[in-house]
């Protein structure tokens, strides 16, 4: 309790709420590629439709200046996942983290 009698708001609580909001936004975003291109369309296709030159420039940057395998073995497999999957995974992760944070805050307040 502070001088005015109200509970002090903990930063952790605000972060949890923000994470949940962001997670929900990602879940909504996941619907877009699935709705526009079909549930099995790869993430790369969604990005290509949004901005065709991006992936080519990105690939050239990665393969020429970092390492060819980084594209072939790490980034390309992600780009080949269904377009909704990475967004949904990030969204669910953020919602879960945000929920855990809020539960911690409630437990600490009791």
């Amino acid at each position: 309790m502070n001088a005015s009698g109200r509970s002090a708001r903990r930063p952790g609580g605000a972060a949890g709420t923000a994470a949940i909001a962001l997670g929900i936004a990602f879940l909504l975003l996941a619907v877009l590629p699935a709705g526009l291109l079909g549930p099995s369309a790869p993430l790369g296709e969604a990005i290509y439709r949004l901005h065709p030159p991006f992936l080519n420039t990105f690939q050239a940057g990665v393969q020429r200046h970092l390492a060819p395998w980084l594209w072939d073995d790490v980034l390309l497999p992600v780009l080949l996942l269904p377009g909704w999957l990475p967004f949904a995974a990030i969204g669910l992760l953020l919602v879960a983290l945000g929920g855990a944070r809020r539960r911690q805050r409630r437990a600490a307040a009791r």
């Binding site: 790869p42 439709r49 065709p52 030159p53 080519n56 393969q63 020429r64 060819p68 594209w71 390309l76």
Partner: protein, 320 residues
Amino acid sequence: MLIRIRRGWEIPESRVTPEAIATNRRAVLGLAAAGLAAAPPALGQTRDAGAPAEGSPLPPAMRNPRYRVERAITPEHEATTFNNYYEFGSHKSIYRAAQRLPMRPWTVKVEGMVEQPREFGIDDLIAAMPIEERVYRLRCVEAWSMVVPWTGFRLSALLDRVRPLSSARYVRFETAAVPEVMPGLRQSWYPWPYIEGCTIEEAANELAFLVVGAYGRPLPPQNGGPLRVHFPWKYGFKSGKSLVRITLTDRRPKSFWETVQGNEYGFWANVNPEVPHPRWSQATERVLGTGERIPTRIFNGYGEFVAHLYVNLQNERLWA
């Protein structure tokens, strides 16, 4: 006193490789290639990138003295280990992966608006065509360049065999698409196969060359083997590699790069040092092998052969 000013493509005769040396080298290398061809690798197996390309040895090819270059020929190792071939990746060392491309059997179809569509086996084609060697400059849109002794024949010589209809206005080149060995094709969002094109007038120009060899050997896959086209006055991406189909048409082909990044890589793509790429200057080029940076020349120095093709096309985007 007569003062003779050399034209851009002329070099002193003293700098030209003597024919005897060139043909002897080809004979030795041809035997080596023949030995390799006796045991072609199966699909998916990798050749030694330093070994001669798979395929029958090339027939003797005389160097055509009309096409001379004022610069030294790029060392073979440099020209065969620094390549763009997007089906195999975006980096410059695709030569290793490209060795998996099976180059025999190989056929190329020539079809579309022609009197006599035909399909040629690559070895039959090489045997039937007037093979010669030409030393050409190659200028990449990425501002590097090399000089290569290509073996091949005029594009128009092939087109004559199928007799284009008078309604044909463009030539479309289609590159092989072999998903088993080309990792780039996993990126299904790109408009594979790789397509390039030119006008029928450009195809008829004497410089337009179908290439089946380099440095006296069968053309290695990373350089576009077993058959590629080469337009030396255009940026390199216009010269499609590993061709499987040539189509004559009345519609302007939309190329792979025009579809993906049309604001940077257009249909004409003639070399011009005064028109920069949207992301870099084209005023100079880095010479492969020496690293020297030299001024780029309009039409890559071949203006006297091709400038007339574009006199009535000033409204077109000729330089990108």
